[in-house]
Amino acid sequence: MINVDHSPPLLEVRGVRKAFAGVQALDGVNISIAPGEVHCVLGQNGAGKSTLIKTLAGVHLPDEGEIIWQGEPVTISSPTQALSLGIATMYQELDVVDGLTIAENIFLGHELSLGGLLNVREATKRTRDLLRRLGHGDLSPGREVGTLSPANKQIVAMARALSRDIKLIVMDEPSAVLDSEEVKNLFRVVRELTASGIAVVYISHRLAEIREIGDRISVIKDGRSMASGLDAQTMETAELIKLMTGRAVANVFPPARPIAADAAELLVVDNLSVKGVFAPVSFTVRAGEILGLAGLVGSGRSEILEAVYGARKATTGTVKLGGTVLKRGSVRDAVHNGMGLSPEERKSQGLLLDEPIYRNVTLSAFARFGRFTFLNEKSERSTARAQLESLELRPADPDRAARTLSGGNQQKILLARWLVHGTRVLLLDEPTRGVDVGARAEIYGLIRELAAAGTAIIVVSSEIEEVLGLADRVLVIADGEVLTEVPANQIDEPGVLDLVMKGSAA
């Protein structure tokens, strides 16, 4: 570990632990942040980064451990208190109020007043100064925030942070919504902030960015600090990945199996498009095959999946499942004909979190249980239990609430749902988001087994490596267009990114 501590730390986090409903989100995090530095926090999805941020922002109180601010132990019990200490947070889901103007957003909660009345003129003036400082003097303080692009909303969020007297600003994946030009502006602003002594905690998945803007790196994995204070310029990439994942990633994927030459084309997508979202695509998936859709966030990959499933109504084209043309825009028809989707946002789109596992498992199939439309809970439970056991979900207790399970086990519930339903075509959107590395390998194995049993599978993931590792064949997508279709073993991650960059430029 490289120690570049010269000044006393601005903020120290010591041994912080936090649990939610039996899930240990933070399990001993130690981070020390110096004034004026850009401190990057690296970690996989579900590593505990969000919980850490919320602990610093006063949203969560740690169960154990200490937070030391400018040499004094503090308890940050509310967002207001965090702000008054001088800690501002920019969340990934930008928490600006759409219906208010830029100036009203910036001074929300600490409105400027003059004898009890709002001092609009002063607020407008200061807003203009802040926006100019952030390189966006072109934005009018009176403009309604709802009309702004995500990048400009982020500028507003940042201006709001700067409108207070802050010493530390936490940015949660600020570059996720920005294009490259806007990222440059962001970096310029970050450099200006640090030059004036403000420390920045910068969360991002993009290693290249971290190298460019970061001073030091801390890595957390499964809620634990793996390393802190690493030098952002000299640290080996391979070493960082190993710290993040706990293993070299190469061996996680099960070997692909050759698909029978006469395997039927179970899913035939012909000329499918959604106006303004993605251009017409055509592809087929054979029984036993895994097709991957590779592309960046916003490329249209999830939207294609949704259109195939009927969750988004297609403008043109057809989807045929085993010879039957599916009704456009009807999820029910797709499910009825043997298609299943494990959605991108497992919690908000996939699960009934407060319901027991078995009801989640039987949700798509429960017409099969019991006579007529009467339910037979006993047979529901036993079917669910059998499926959970075969997926090695432990404990296979069908009565537990879905909320209490880990990400990997929640993903297994969704797989179980479609297995019980008897799905022939399975669409998986981000199958391992928020799933830790150990459970990932297990999920990959299950997906491969399903394919081997004759299911046609489409996988979408923001991790290109995952798509390439799992799939037999890959469609590379950028800006709503399919750039190419290649066997997965004939392309690598740089190759995909290269295509995507060129495709976007064209």
Binding site: A21, G22, L352, L375, R400
Partner: protein, 345 residues
């Protein structure tokens, strides 16, 4: 009621499922749905004790008991339909005025047509009007993407207006004696109205806890998007739910005709609020995803008993309204505490 423990144990606190074994047994029991019902039973018993202490024999007599139940029965039937709508995450403000409309249409049909001599036609007309109004609500909400509150508020106003136009603001007397004899009468010493409430409640319980219809309702209220992506036709189901609420309003309209032997556009005024109060006090979450028929029935009984205790003691109805308001606030406060226990964060 012990069945309720196993079938609608929606969100168990983590203590219940084996890990993080904190919290006393009392808290655990009160956190479960059976516990919430137990709380309601205790509240009801307390009310009965207060009634018995203040008014003695006249309160505890069988006659008075039947009066309470008879009063409770019409709101009760509406509340059962309302329970389904609220569990699905919706609301139906129109049930009271739809009740009034069904009573007017059914009596007009009886006065002006051959239905005078054939009471089942009155029943069928009342039910059809209720279901029809419910379908309109459901279609506007599901396919028109109008917020349930607004769609049913519009129906509340419109149905009352239609009823006034049809009845010319005059009270229509039911002149079919058979109808009055049946719905105003007794069966085995118990008023028919009470039997109807019992029947609707039992049917509602079965529908909610034992059929795919009920499971879908809970799923839609718990996570609408997940339900849709699991292949449930959420829009169509929404229409069914409001049709069901309309159906209960129609049944309540018949009961009202039986009790008053007259149809008028003012029947059922503000009943929607009493029904919502009973449902929420009964432990059904206003945001949807969790609820119980047993709880709703207990909620209805608590309000009916409260009214009776006040009447027996010749207390002002204004004081009674204040007491009702207090009960609603206390129930919702308790509900939130249990909900946050179940959700952890």
């Amino acid at each position: 009621m012990s069945e309720q423990t196993t079938t609608s144990s929606a969100a168990r606190p983590p203590a219940d499922s084996g890990n993080a074994g904190s919290g006393s047994i009392v808290k655990r029991i009160l956190g479960g749905s059976a516990g919430r019902n137990a709380g309601l039973v205790i509240a009801l018993i307390l009310l009965v004790i207060i009634g018995g202490a203040t008014s003695g024999d006249s309160f505890l007599s069988l006659n008075n008991l039947l009066t309470v139940l008879r009063l409770a029965s019409i709101i009760g039937v509406i509340s059962i339909g309302m329970t389904f709508v609220i569990i699905s995450g919706g609301i139906d403000l129109s049930v009271g005025s739809v009740l009034g409309l069904t009573s007017v249409v059914a009596t007009l049909a009886a006065v002006q047509t051959a239905a005078t001599s054939f009471w089942p036609l009155m029943v069928i007309i009342a039910l059809a009007v209720g279901v029809f109004a419910g379908i309109i609500n459901g279609v506007v909400i599901a396919y028109g993407n109008v917020v349930a509150f607004m769609a049913t508020l519009a129906m509340l106003v419109a149905a009352r207006g239609v009823a006034e136009i049809l009845s010319k603001r005059s009270t229509q007397i039911v002149n079919n004696n058979e109808f009055g004899d049946i719905f105003g009468g007794d069966l085995i010493g118990v008023p028919v109205l009470i039997w109807m409430f019992v029947l609707v409640a039992v049917a509602g319980w079965i529908l909610l806890n034992r059929t795919t219809f009920g499971r879908r309702t809970v799923a839609i209220g718990g996570n609408r998007e997940a339900a849709r992506l699991a292949g449930i036709n959420v829009k169509r189901h929404t229409v069914y739910l409001y049709a069901l609420a309309g159906l209960t309003a129609g049944i309540a309209g018949i009961m009202m005709l039986g009790r008053t032997t007259a149809g008028t556009s003012t029947h059922g005024t503000l009943y929607e609020l009493d029904a919502i109060a009973a449902v929420v006090v009964g432990g059904t979450l206003l945001v949807g995803g969790r609820g119980s028929i047993v709880g709703t029935v207990l909620g209805v009984l608590i309000f009916a008993t409260l009214t009776n205790v006040f009447t027996q003691n010749n207390l002002d109805t204004s004081v009674q309204a204040v007491a009702k308001g207090l009960i609603i606030v206390i129930a919702v406060l308790l509900q939130q505490r249990f909900a946050s226990r179940g959700r952890a964060h």
